[in-house]
């Protein structure tokens, strides 16, 4: 190990790690909460993230844009944990061609009902309680994707890199997630989200 390492002494290394992570903590916690839905789970996710990152403190110090990198690691951790929770091997959500989605049904139809006078109904559907219930009923994958794109404002290009997903697939998943949320809102209830998956 180099003597002039930035993390030369254990105590100095610890404080460097804390200094690296602390500016991003509130943000990471907020995202973790939106992913998981409860304080307990959000704290667990953050805790697991920090445990994994601490041995990589020197690597973190070299990353220019640390926040999206941290989000990427946390997202993968979250998805891994979700899959492990179900104790099933990784399967991909069935992909569909985005164009076919558009052709077969407007992915925004549920969100953008063109009938006259639906805006008021849509506004009512977005009252906080109903939205929270609908959000809660989303699958973890849908929650995570909508959190990153629609809430946290990552661009498609950023999410392609962050999630290692091609643009067409990303858009398809995004529209599916929004469609599901719109279904839950419009039904006026929180019908449980049955996420269908096909084995690769």
């Amino acid at each position: 190990m180099e003597r002039n390492s930035r993390f030369g002494s254990a105590s100095q290394g610890q404080s460097d790690f804390e200094r690296l992570v602390r500016p991003h903590f509130d943000y990471l916690y907020k995202v973790a909460y939106r992913f998981t839905g409860t304080t307990d789970r959000a704290e667990d996710l953050i805790q697991d993230l920090l445990v994994r990152l601490y041995p990589r403190a020197e690597e973190l110090a070299k990353i220019e844009q640390l926040r999206p990198w941290l989000v990427r690691v946390m997202y993968r951790l979250f998805i891994d944990q979700t899959r492990r929770d179900a104790r099933r091997p990784y399967v991909a959500i069935a992909e569909s061609d985005f164009a076919a989605d558009v052709e077969n049904g407007d992915p925004y139809a549920e969100i953008a009902d063109p009938a006259p006078g639906p805006d008021v109904a849509f506004e009512l559907a977005l009252d906080r309680k109903r939205l929270m219930s609908a959000w809660e009923a989303l699958s973890p994958e849908h929650k995570a994707l909508l959190t990153l794109y629609d809430v946290e404002g990552y661009t498609l290009e950023e999410l392609e890199r962050l999630l290692d997903v091609a643009l067409g697939t990303l858009k398809s998943r995004l529209h599916r997630a929004r469609r599901r949320l719109a279904e839950l809102l419009r039904s006026g209830s929180s019908a449980p989200d049955v996420g269908s998956e096909r084995t690769k």
Partner: protein, 230 residues
């Protein structure tokens, strides 16, 4: 530009990521098309509403504790499965709940119970493995006294139709406990004249739980890392 093309490119348009020519065409379409304007407005309304959903803060001192634990713990080499019973139950369910008719004749082991804290929402996941595609299946959830499915207040039974794909189908159930006690949640799938049912013991506690019958506070999280105390 027509609506279909606009919809395909709407995200890029709103991000400002289209080239100048495509942007102008999209803007022109938006100017002329009330439907697409409504689509954009609704998406923006939805986004604003999602952004405004509250995020409760972590427990006081959590960050300091989490940092201290990160420094104290060795890097995890193996996942420990000591998360609260709901997740473990969901995992266990995958092992033996099969929407495979042949399994109906094989006695299945009784699942461990799930503990829910009073007035808190707890989401459990059930996985149903279908050997083939099953359109028009009916899912039914019957709840014990004191437990509701979020969004269905005071309903003891909730039923809906769905299509199962071949393979794993995951059902997320956000449960809300309204009174303490014990009971059984019954989840069933009916397709044609065939039916599979799953019984899950539920226990509602008025204290934060870790697992049925366990200590009131989980000492460690699902990966075995000690939790920060409130």
């Amino acid at each position: 530009m027509n609506c279909r093309t606009f919809v395909e490119r709407m995200e890029e348009y709103l991000e400002g990521a289209l080239d100048a020519d495509a942007h102008d065409r999209a803007a022109a379409h938006l100017h002329e098309c009330a439907d697409c304007r409504r689509r954009v407005e609704r998406l923006q309304t939805l986004r604003a509403a999602l952004c405004n959903l509250p995020v409760p803060p972590p427990r006081p001192g959590f960050f300091e504790h989490a940092i201290a634990q990160a420094q104290a713990e060795p890097p995890p080499r193996r996942r420990y499965w000591i998360y609260a019973a709901g997740a473990a139950l969901a995992a266990g369910l995958v092992l033996w709940v099969g929407f495979r008719w042949r399994l109906n004749a094989i006695p299945a082991p009784a699942p461990a119970g799930v503990t829910i804290t009073l007035n808190e929402t707890r989401t459990i996941q059930l996985s149903f493995n279908a050997e083939r595609e099953l359109p028009g299946a009916t899912l039914s959830i019957r709840l014990p006294d004191g437990v509701e499915l979020r969004g269905f207040p005071e309903q003891r039974e909730v039923r809906w139709q769905t299509s199962l794909v071949r393979g794993v189908n995951v059902l997320s159930l956000p449960l809300v406990a309204k009174s303490t006690g014990e009971g059984t949640l019954l989840a069933s799938i009916q397709h044609g004249d065939r039916r599979t049912e799953l019984a899950i013991p539920l226990r509602v506690s008025d204290r934060p739980h870790t697992s049925a019958g366990g200590p009131a506070y989980a000492e460690r999280n699902r990966s075995g890392v000690p939790r920060a105390r409130a």
